[in-house]
């Protein structure tokens, strides 16, 4: 389908495809098996300017908009969901600074993120605060020209690999979510260390780790926006990044469909190619149709963001829910089409199925997303 992507976006897509073919395919099974972060691939991504696309030109980026990030994330995900999320998590980490950082913060941090000299991560989740992000316990107490952070962040994508973190902590626990604030914390800040590294079902190339703050003194100038705006920073960040998860899901599904099509054209049973069987053809048709619908929805949300539309929370949630459910179904069907081979690690589709699962869970479970969608719809209905 023609999505009228401009030359620059198509160039980004070509670059991602080349990186995927040359550098991701040969190592993805190994990264998956050994739970290894793709440091070398991140360097190649950096050199190809892919970290610049979501950062404004005045801060060393190329400012290609939400659609560019969606296309890049989708294309990298076609090869490996773990590598793609390691890339996309940088955009998530940088988003609080891009959206609500001060001029000084932007000047200081964004150029080194655009060049890929430093990696970035976003830290909100805690053991007791997942979907209920308002339940975070990490404290930030003002002490002179510093804030003192105490607490533990859990399941932080790029944890231990990034050098710059945007962290949500409570400055005023009395006020609940309105008492949260966002901070920039650099690796090496005394009192900041890394905890447990997770052993995951899928996206195993990505690093998922605890961040531990023990009397960690962060300069007051690292506060993003103002005290009490942390939750707003987090929600705006997630609204902007959610289409990225949708894109990841579309890419994983597309990769699985391509493997299924290839296998079905080569595999013969009863003396004929198995893609000549109608039962299998109908599966392939549904897979392709669902992916295209998910892609259309995802790109539409990215375009809303680029058009400067104010409210896209509902649509962003819709894209995430729909695309991730499609990814789970399509990858499961791809394993089915490859049959016994699909179940073996020697073929990439079982990994794609494991990778797909997380897209239904992270950055807001699909159940939470459905609540968001329903709430928005009901609110709109009452307004009429």
């Amino acid at each position: 389908m023609n999505y009228m992507l401009n030359e620059d976006i198509l160039a980004i897509k070509e670059i991602c495809a080349e990186i995927g073919e040359k550098y991701i395919i040969p190592v993805r099974a190994e990264l998956d098996e050994h739970n290894r972060f793709p440091t070398e691939i991140m360097k190649i991504i950096a050199r190809s300017d892919l970290f610049t696309i979501y950062i404004p030109e005045e801060y060393g980026g190329t400012g290609m908009g939400a659609i560019s990030l969606v296309v890049a994330t989708e294309e990298l995900s076609r090869f490996c969901g773990g590598v793609a999320v390691s890339y996309a998590a940088n955009a998530l980490g940088a988003m609080p600074i891009i959206l609500m950082g001060s001029e000084e913060q932007k000047k200081k941090y964004l150029p080194q993120l655009a060049s890929g000299e430093k990696l970035c991560a976003f830290a909100l989740t805690e053991s007791e605060a997942g979907s209920d992000a308002g339940g975070i316990k990490t404290r930030a107490i003002k002490d002179g020209d510093h804030y003192v952070l105490n607490g533990t962040k859990q399941w932080i994508t790029n944890g231990g690999e990034a050098q710059i973190y945007t962290v949500i902590a409570l400055t005023d626990p009395e006020r609940g979510p309105r008492g949260a604030s966002a901070f920039i914390v650099e690796e090496g800040t005394p009192g900041f260390s890394y905890g447990k590294k997770e052993d995951k079902m899928g996206i195993r190339a990505s690093a998922t780790r605890e961040l531990v703050f023990e009397d960690c003194r962060v300069p007051a100038e690292n506060l993003i926006a103002r005290e009490g705006m942390g939750f707003m920073v987090a929600m705006r960040t997630l609204d902007n990044s959610r289409p990225g998860v949708a894109a990841q899901a579309v890419g994983i599904a597309q990769g699985a469909l391509e493997e299924a099509l290839k296998y079905a054209s080569e595999r013969k049973q009863f003396g004929v190619r198995i893609d000549s069987f109608q039962g299998l053809q109908f599966m392939l048709a549904d897979m392709g149709t669902q992916i295209e619908a998910a892609r259309a929805l995802t790109y539409s949300v990215a375009r809303m963001i680029d058009n400067g539309d104010k409210g896209f929370e509902k649509e962003s949630a819709m894209a995430k829910v729909f695309a991730s459910d499609v990814a789970m179904r399509v990858t499961t069907d791809a394993v089915q089409i490859l049959g016994g081979y699909g179940y073996m690690r020697e073929y990439p589709v079982e990994k794609m199925m494991r990778d797909a699962k997380i897209t239904q869970i992270y950055e807001g479970t699909n159940q939470i997303q459905r609540s968001v969608i329903a709430r928005a719809m009901i609110k709109e209905a009452h307004r009429k």
């Binding site: 620059d8 160039a11 070509e14 670059i15 190649i44 050199r47 190809s48 300017d49 190329t62």
Partner: protein
């Protein structure tokens, strides 16, 4: 430093077929690509430019559509590009091609090194690089698997030859032909691709290079291709079954029988 990389647009040989009647390449519908060996030459030049400073200029001799490989090279990080193109250059053999490329290198001026791929995958001659060196009267190091050191005055490079590794030192300016062992070519960057779309690529013809028609193209070529043909396709061979002893006897009979026939 001023580096030049001479590249060639070639048909993607994975896709190419030969017309059995006429013995020529069927180019229709075959995608054109940058000669794969040239990507290592380009990477090597850019690597040393990134280290030492300076510029990398890519050049190619070919028809107007060869411009696309120059843009590809710019998207990978070359600073500028020149297309060497003129009807008078058509039909050139390696001698006439080298003479023309050498003239372009002289016109660029102040060049420290010219990088070639070890050979092109269409002609497979591996002659153009060395022949440009001869034409310029510069030293040449061919089949370079690794450049050890390079500075404003000289180069030390390792030639990977059949008998081992030969370490050669040469004064600049120099001509090099690069093997794929030398490096891993980079992926184009977004800024490179944006730049390559807008890049102005000058076209240098016969008069720009100060050459005469009888030293270029078909007229300037001392060699002529008489015929190109496809070798007979290999047949699948016979499969024999049996015990090891039976098979050994069978094989011996067959070999002796064939020997007898010859």
């Amino acid at each position: 430093m001023k580096f030049v990389v001479a590249i060639k647009q070639v048909p993607d040989t994975a896709e190419v077929r030969i017309d059995p009647e006429r013995g020529t390449l069927i180019r229709d519908g075959v995608p054109s690509i940058m000669n794969p060996f040239d990507t290592y030459a380009l990477e090597e030049a850019m690597k040393w430019r990134d280290d030492l400073g300076g510029t990398v200029t890519v050049i190619t001799m070919g028809p107007p559509q060869a411009e696309s490989v120059l843009r590809e090279a710019v998207s990978m990080g070359a600073d500028d590009a020149v297309l060497i193109s003129d009807r008078a250059f058509a039909g050139a053999d390696t001698w006439a091609t080298s003479h023309t490329i050498a003239a372009a290198v002289k016109k660029i001026g102040g060049v420290d090194a010219v990088f070639f791929g070890k050979q092109a995958i269409d002609g497979d001659t591996a002659q153009t690089g060395p022949s440009v060196a001869a034409s310029l009267d510069w030293p040449q190091i061919t089949f370079v698997g690794r450049v050890r050191t390079l500075d404003v005055k000289s180069i030390i490079a390792e030639r990977y030859v059949e008998t081992g590794v030969q370490v050669v030192q040469a004064d600049l300016p120099v001509v090099l032909t690069i093997l794929k062992d030398a490096n891993v070519p980079r992926v184009p960057s977004l800024r490179g691709k944006m730049k390559s779309r807008k890049a102005e690529i000058p076209v240098w013809g016969l008069s720009d290079l100060g050459l005469s028609p009888d030293e270029t193209g078909l007229n300037g070529s001392p060699t002529k291709v008489v015929v190109t043909s496809t070798p007979e396709a290999r047949t699948g061979g016979a499969i024999h079954t049996g015990t090891a002893d039976e098979l050994a006897c069978k094989l011996a009979d067959l070999l002796l029988g064939e020997g007898g026939d010859a």
